[in-house]
Symmetry: C2
Amino acid sequence: MADYSPVRGCIVFRPEGFAIWENIVAELDRRIKRTGARNAYFPLFIPESFIRKEASHVEGFSPELAVVTHGGGKELEEPLIVRPTSETIINHMFAQWIKSYRDLPLMVNQWCNVVRWEMRTRMFLRTSEFLWQEGHTAHATREEAEAETLTMLEVYRAFCEEFLAIPLIVGRKSAAERFAGALETYAIESLMGDGRALQCGTSHFLAQNFSRAFEIRYLDETNQWQYVWQTSWGVSTRLLGALIMVHGDDQGLRLPPAVAPVQAVIVPIWRKPAERDSVLEAAQRGILALTQAGVRCHLDDRAGITPGFKFNEWEMRGVPLRIEIGPRDVAAGEATLARRDGAGSASKVKSPLDRLPESVGALLDDIQKSLFRAAKDAMDAQTHEPKDFNGLAEQMEGEGGGGLAYVYWCGNPACETKIREETRATCRAIPLAQSAPPQSCIVCGEESRERAFFAKAY
Amino acid sequence: MADYSPVRGCIVFRPEGFAIWENIVAELDRRIKRTGARNAYFPLFIPESFIRKEASHVEGFSPELAVVTHGGGKELEEPLIVRPTSETIINHMFAQWIKSYRDLPLMVNQWCNVVRWEMRTRMFLRTSEFLWQEGHTAHATREEAEAETLTMLEVYRAFCEEFLAIPLIVGRKSAAERFAGALETYAIESLMGDGRALQCGTSHFLAQNFSRAFEIRYLDETNQWQYVWQTSWGVSTRLLGALIMVHGDDQGLRLPPAVAPVQAVIVPIWRKPAERDSVLEAAQRGILALTQAGVRCHLDDRAGITPGFKFNEWEMRGVPLRIEIGPRDVAAGEATLARRDGAGSASKVKSPLDRLPESVGALLDDIQKSLFRAAKDAMDAQTHEPKDFNGLAEQMEGEGGGGLAYVYWCGNPACETKIREETRATCRAIPLAQSAPPQSCIVCGEESRERAFFAKAY
């Protein structure tokens, strides 16, 4: 899927890994555009002075900036920052584009690379350069901007659960985990197989922090100047890491059919040369029928490699469905379908060759659902509700992850800090709609109106 | 379409301009993948030492490099170059990936941003940061690599002529115009409305220059180590500049239907409120039918803006077809179709409302062809065959462009330099298949076997 590169903290996306990202981009781009946002592209470089315009923004990002000091053989008058995120440069442009309430809402998205200098690299999860989309919107009212923040949170949730089959917890971030410059940050979080949480996407309500810093104002219908209300939201190539760690098993990747570059692979099997032609002919007819039915499929007719070797390779690569066609299958007018997820009453089933598209389609649907169900069951099994601080500490003991702890917490940063320092768990999400009666904070015992998910995180 | 940005030499692609680029990417990506190349992604940063590994490469790119010297608050041990092109980092990875003849051919492509520090910026044509695709391939034999170079040249030619309706000249570059590190560079060149040539895409035969510098070797079938033969090829957001300058007229853009984000716009027209409902209803039925037929269409039902204002705006934006629906049209069961290109016996025609998809489809096809024809005629009209150096100098006189001069040239760099210095025209392309008998070089009079296109270039 990827290699480390000779550049510190940067990875190379190999074609197999990148094809998954391309499918993510295509589907999510469609969903984003459906909300009314349009794609644009802003410069890679940001003047250093821009980053300094929003106080908490510069504080949050300063330690991880890459700086261009020379261009065209000369030292630059003002250093340029390689974008860690584009609020500042985009809002500089928004200030020029927005004049009147008629220009609102303004909703743009860009797919691009960003750089955040990392001391410790972790394949897909933490890399100095990564690919992402970042949406930036400006609205006339606070309510509209708040609604947009939640709309995008829901777009991300539906995308991850439906398309990537990754179950999530969804909610607000605590102040400590908030985006530098946001009034509220909302996030989708998933739980990896090892019991650690991974932030999969964020949606920020920026209020007027950036519009005041960048003077983004519009004339309202009564001819008064008003600052716009803003949001920003993004997901990144980190999702590839989530896919691997949520669905992978000891044999390698297990890709949900919706995102898999190859959904079904046909492996023809023969021993004697006389069997070869009829097997290959059946396999080719199968590929044709599947392709016409819209299934992304591949015929592995490599010579000199055993079927067993091919089975292993496609299993490792996570292809959801393997279709074996041997001489006996051809004679019986059948194919053998083997599910990568191993679910169902039997992981291998027979299908009539002339009904391959229907059989494959039904199985792919079922694999998509069963991978989600398996991941959801695993997450539920690792979600606990410790009653006191000792219970929480026990849950988080050891070097690995400790799953999710759903606990009452008063909201006081001091209690959050104590949890982090003593258990290494951080607040991952505070669910939005909470109706349970108040109870005691798991740390200080004060009345707590909300429960939050804590976990050790990547 | 775009704005200058606060960062020297960098532009902002606004949603309207970027939507055209997205269509270019989607179509060209499909055509590139059909040749067998797969997409990947390599780091933005390149260690400075890598750039120095291929002698002519570093010489060509040194003056235009942007350099990162600081990361994460510290000075870097080795400065990082922001990629101006990715031969060096990609070939470093190829050296690790390629071991045996079974690993060949290796064909990867990446869509990304690159930076080449420019002193003079020109919207789309010359910007410090631009977007492009760069393909990189490695082959077992020289013949295979040469064939790949020409295959991609033809992919680019067909794409530009068929999809962008931009007529081209195609050929080899002279040594002076060659890519830094290539043995041969091939290019597609178009002629802008002002008589200047624009390089639209290049395909390089790199021979073994990079494989020797980066030690990319494979074990052949006889177990001997061999250096691979390589190519690279790319087109960029420069194509947006070509689209504007080839097809634009005094009223603004004229987009070929194949690449236009909006192919047809419906402008409903009414004066009295009583007319409004029936007109809008007919317009909405039209949009539905067109969308179902796969036409990218838009209903401009903005209130408080006159039809005339809308006409101008959509003309300026280059939408190929405007569909006017007024009360009389509704009464007659018709719509009025106005071609942006103004070609055909009349630029406005009537269509039955219930046959809108067929009428629109046929007109869009015709507009695509007629824009190409008009651009081809303009190019042909500006292509001359001066018989002597004075004729060439006269053709190139003045501040504007001088069109294309198709002349005999002996191939001697001294003659090329004289042409450039005295006429400001450079060698744009030497057509591949030439069968005319040798004649005299237009500069020195020596025997010349080939003709070449010279022009002033952007």
